[in-house]
Amino acid sequence: MNDSEIVAGFFARDADAVVTAQETYGRYCLAIARNITGSDEDAEECLNDALLAAWNSIPPKRPESLRGYLGKLTRNLAINRLEKQRAAKRGGGEMDAILDEVEEVFGAVDSAEDEAMRHALTEAIDAFLASLDEDRRALFVRRYWYAEDLGQIAARFGMRENTAAQTLRRIRKKLREYLTREGFTV
């Protein structure tokens, strides 16, 4: 069953569509949630919450890529869970390192509560990513969108962990420079 058929099932309020979505994209979403929360149990809950959120938002939404839509929902729910973990002094590990790296680039940027500011920043990041070659762009996304640890990334890109870390460091530096040139305070 393809995306449009599954989405049509959501529109028809057919509960089987949720089962199909889980069978098709469950592993993908679980991997994202597990990377961020560091816990299989939390990841399962994020997946269930994401499927529920999709059920509640489709319709009216009609995502073109169901994988992308579920992935993004799962990612946001996993971040919520991570924040709760941190409040309860749990968590840590690789995700700490990823958040530190992200802070290294955006730490000094004003809090992007303003929608226009968020939009401008996202557009700037997109433009920066467009300027990278495909490998570096994928490396950045695997680390900072999928929250993969360096070992996974190194294996995926056929490089040593040190090389992956160095390449990411250079990308972050370039992104900082790019945002500065674009008028953001970093």
């Binding site: 993908y28 990612r75 946001n76 802070e103 955006f106 996304v141 969108w145 999928y146 056929g158 490089m159």
Partner: protein, 257 residues
């Protein structure tokens, strides 16, 4: 901005990058064992061969990519070897009925005669939605009208992907196109008004692919084969009985004035 806010912000990046990163295939790590000379030599050879192969593949892939200058972000185009049959190739067809006279005035068409030197299928990706077309290269030998010159090689965007394998000659006119065939072509010359093809929220400027293109696969091309003349007979009643491209050319010259 807090760490979490920044991490959430990255969640808003273009979904295409996220999809592309998910689909990037795992690569094998190069194995380096320094203390085993033979193995090192073999590994070096392998690395060299892999490098050459990867370089060749990258060159091959780069050569397939068609640089799009005027199209919007989110559109990509590449040549493809994917084979199509006449049914699955699909395509756009102008359904506008035109009289024989209107065919010459409805659009700004060039008219020229020439030999097809190449035909390549093109995969156009409209932000994830793919469309297949073909580009034909035609070496011009006679110009009836239009901005092209004798001896020039003109690219023409075809309204569907070119079919593969042997073709029955009673298929649509454009499905008879192949390298080496002589024909007369009446492509629309793209300008700022007629150059866009929009799909899935992004826009292709057709001029990124070719300076001109056929409106449909029937009425805008004439081919001569050893067996017969192939053209849209119902659209050109005045050509009834014509057997050669010379007769077609004479008729087109008269119509084009």
């Amino acid at each position: 901005m807090t760490k979490q806010e920044a991490f959430r912000l990255i969640g808003e990046i273009d979904g295409l990058y996220v999809e592309a990163a998910q689909d990037c295939a795992p690569r094998k790590r190069i194995n380096r064992k320094r203390n085993m000379r033979m193995l090192a030599a073999a590994a070096a050879c392998l690395v060299l061969a892999a490098g050459i192969f990867a370089g060749a593949m990258r060159y091959h892939e780069a050569a397939r990519q068609i640089p799009l200058v005027a199209s919007s972000a989110g559109v990509t185009a590449r040549y493809t070897d994917k084979a199509f049959d006449p049914v699955s190739a699909g395509g756009e067809n102008s359904l506008v009925w035109l009289s024989e006279d209107e065919i010459f005035t409805h659009w700004n068409t060039a008219i020229f005669r020439g030999t097809v030197t190449d035909v390549r299928n093109v995969e156009i990706d409209f932000a994830g939605r793919k469309l297949y077309r073909a580009i034909a290269w035609v070496r011009v030998c006679t110009v009836v009208r239009g901005p092209y010159a004798e001896g020039e090689e003109v690219k023409i965007l075809l309204p569907s992907a070119a079919a593969s394998g042997s073709r029955a000659e009673d298929c649509g006119v454009i499905e008879s196109i192949r390298v080496g065939i002589e024909g007369i072509f009446m492509p629309i010359v793209y300008d700022d008004e007629n150059n866009f093809l929009e799909m899935n929220g992004v826009t292709l400027d057709k001029r990124d692919l070719a300076p001109c293109g056929l409106a449909d696969g029937e009425r805008w091309a004439f081919f001569e084969t050893p067996h017969r003349l192939i053209y849209a007979e119902s659209a050109f009643p005045s050509l009834a009985g014509a057997k050669t491209l010379d007769e077609v050319e004479a008729f087109l010259r008269e119509k084009a004035g």
